[in-house]
Symmetry: C2
Subunit: 191 residues, 2 copies
């Protein structure tokens, strides 16, 4: 049975290779450059091989998005370690979110802008998505109305997401982004 194990190992390796290559291609040349042909050429296999690992391009984006949620969770937890979270901790959390989006624009798009086929706000939501949301909830829960912590976090998150997308699309002047973040935190967590 060792042969089958080796094949499965190789297959898993190629699976990861596809995801990481697609992600790198997206991050360096934009999502437009991520075509099945280019991706196949980069991994040195033919196009149909991709379809033996993924149902289609959308599923590749979904796999990358999943990586993104795990990394976002790490970034948020690092910014706001456990314990009571004062205003400064919330500001750090918000900054971590914005920075994550700025540092990984293509990844952020895979998570929130592109069609990645992942189910949201629904019982089938994958664990990494729930964890990322939870990483946002924990430091914020003290500042929310006790009856509706979810509502508070959802709204704060939406505001952060709006800042990210509008700033990156050039809809808002980039130089004042930090000021907008401060203003937002002040409104949600009054001094």
């Amino acid at each position: 049975m060792s042969v089958r194990e080796r094949k499965e190992r190789e297959r898993a390796h190629r699976h990861r290779l596809i995801v990481s290559t697609a992600r790198e291609l997206a991050e360096t040349h934009g999502w437009d450059a991520v075509t099945t042909r280019r991706l196949a050429e980069q991994i040195e296999y033919s196009q149909p091989v991709l379809y033996s690992h993924f149902r289609g391009k959308k599923e590749i984006v979904g796999a990358i998005a999943l990586e993104g949620f795990a990394e976002l969770t790490t970034a948020l937890r690092a910014a706001a370690p456990e314990g009571p979270a004062g205003r400064e901790a919330v500001a750090a959390l918000a900054r971590a979110y914005i920075d994550f989006a700025a540092r990984n624009p293509a990844l952020y798009d895979a998570m929130f802008s592109l069609d990645n086929g992942l189910p949201f706000a629904d019982e089938a939501t994958p664990a990494p998505l729930r964890e990322a949301f939870q990483a946002l909830v924990d430091p914020l829960v003290d500042h929310a109305h006790p009856d509706e912590p979810g509502l508070f976090v959802e709204t704060f998150w939406a505001a952060l997401h709006g800042l990210v997308t509008l700033t990156r699309a050039g809809r808002l002047p980039a130089d004042r982004a930090p000021d907008r973040l401060t203003l937002l935190v002040d409104r949600f967590v009054p001094r």
Copy 2:
């Protein structure tokens, strides 16, 4: 010279026909269904005719987006007529924004999600865009820090935009959207 005038009139008419047909196609079947082939067939001309009116598909999206900004201005002005704007007026303004996006999803995408080639936050920004932003500024200016009214409006707008996109993409549960809006207004305009 009457002949030339007639031709120009016909040309302008066809120009509007292209824009309205593309918009209707997008609103009824989604932007994916708006291809140059389908659009050409709908207006009963061949594809190259489109390129005698617009530099490319992006410019058609841009024309539709421009319509959208004009209509958004109208909707916002209707929701918050002139005069001092209390908390209720801000809530009405926010509701008008959200409702506009909900009623015209494809239009909203043309304005903010798709690549429409329009310049933002820059001296070349077309008038309708400035006016739409101004329609947001006027009722809000009393609630902002006097030094930085723009910053306040930008942040509030970003929050609204975030709510719109995340809710419509199914990232946030739709049934609690009104509650999130109330929460947002409460945070930005304390009772």
